[in-house]
Amino acid sequence: MNKIVNPEPLFVDEYTGEPPAKRVLGHIQSKREQGAAVAGLYCGYAPMELIHAMDIVPAVLCAFSNAQIEAAEEHLPANLCPLIKSSYGFVIRDTCPFYAVSDVVIAETTCDGKKKMFELMSHIRPLYVMDLPQVPDEKEARDEWKSMILKVKSFMEKHTGKSTTEDKIEASIKDTNRKNALMRKIFDYAAMQPPVVSWSELYDVIFIAMAAKGEEINPRLENIIEKLEKRVERGYFHGQPESPRVMVTGCPVGGDALKIFKIIEELGGVVVALDACTGMKSFMDDISEDTGDPVGAIAERYLRIPCSCMTPNNRRLTEMDKIIEKFKPDAVVDFVLHACHSYSIESFKVGAHIKNKHNIPFLKVITDYSDGDVEQIKTRVQALFESI
């Protein structure tokens, strides 16, 4: 195969070549000028459809820069997860542009570190901590989470003056489902062998698709699909036909944590499946439509997110089976942030499952946002590729 270089970028706009956060910030600012309120979010459990239905624009808050950690450690213990320290550093130094434009902040009890960190920043912006049920298959969980969604709705009404109706929430559910279907179509191009889309392109698309409504972003997603289709016709592919295909699962990956994707690519691999909350996770599932109880339907869908804070979280394994079947990775990297106990412990189960059920080489990488361990990670990733 002759390698075609320089494919047309998926996005051609004033943000081409810039970090994807700029495009998202531009989107939020233009929505704000049109009168929308802004809700800052830290996690994939925030009910996006409700937020959109209230004419509030979601802003995923900064959490991935090593530079913010030093300031955070003035208040927080050093041996804490870097995502929590970075989030907090951004807030106390007022360096996160998304936080700066947020009218309210929505938080969840996904782990003890975040829960206690939220207490320390709750005086700066109106902040609501949603109590997340962590045994999601218990029959009470759905109603508990539904009541939390209704409570966060009242909280947002109070602090933004915005409101919504059941019909609008239902319409928002359908809007998300349409967007997710298009996103999954885009992911299909990563599933191709070889893939025709790179991890950084997927990352750019995911970044904006998380913040925007379907009706706002779908035309662009459709345009991206056309471009990808053209790449296929022209015979373009990303990486090399023999490049090891890698699925990266585990903790969220962004900013300085992107080093894991960069290392994989530098060593000749291609990242084809991004199985994290910052990756494909939120687009892989749909919300039930026309149930007559849209908030309940939202509650059910979000409780299906296979985060390691859930127990026993066997859904992570069954979801992974589907991803492996579709994206056909040659190796799996479990990306664990330092001191993220739930992902770190769960890694044992994940590793055994990958080995026993799929017989694919598996590597757990525990790291933080610094680049001090890049060489050590390279050794492990190289050995992982050599063992394929």
Binding site: I366, E375, Q376, T379, R380, Q382, A383, S387
Partner: protein, 253 residues
Amino acid sequence: MISAGIDIGSRTIKLVTFDGSRILSSKVRPNSYNTIDICREMLKGVPYDGIISTGYGRHLFSRHFDCEAISEIKAFTLGAFHTVPGCRTILDIGGQDTKAISLDENGKISKFEMNDKCAAGTGKFLEIMANALEFTMNEFIDSASSAEKAEPINSMCTVFAESEVISLIGRGALRDEVSLGIHNAIVKRSVSLMKRVSIRDNIVFVGGVANNRCVQSLIEKDVGTKISVPDNPQITGALGCALHHNEKAINSI
């Protein structure tokens, strides 16, 4: 045809040449800030047709010498399986790394584990502890081997362990018993690393620390079986590189 392998570790650089059936030469030199200069010096006058690098400096070397670089895991696996055919578990304790690798019956890597990025439980750890006790390495090993019982060392962090050793001495603990305690600590950690990859029969112990017979006998006592240590365990990674080069050259003919 002569294949060379170079293993650029944190403490030492190892060079091996191999002619397809036997090792022609091997060298070990301390590493320093001027790694490439040391490599050039080591290669001076050594005949070889091709070279492959491994170790922390592998990418640096491969850029300067335009050659292939393989991971230490692969290099040690090839070297150990050649030296001890049929081995199923490899323990490598180097200057700043400890690795445990389990192999299938064909010598293919089935699982590997490495220590974290710090020097806990590595050769560097032993050097610092010997220093804290004002021993040379050989005196340190003799001292540990002569002890009847051991002072417990609880910390595996090199810095904390050093202060633990100093406070033990301050309390009047016997130097030999502290030596043995330090050796026990490194063995405990290495064995637990091996258990993570599941210990199989036929264990090979390589890397610079494999020259330490006290560590060897303590591991044997812990796992309840004899372990193999090659004659020159430090060059295993460099040998693996040379073997890999040789195999590739044969396959490409």
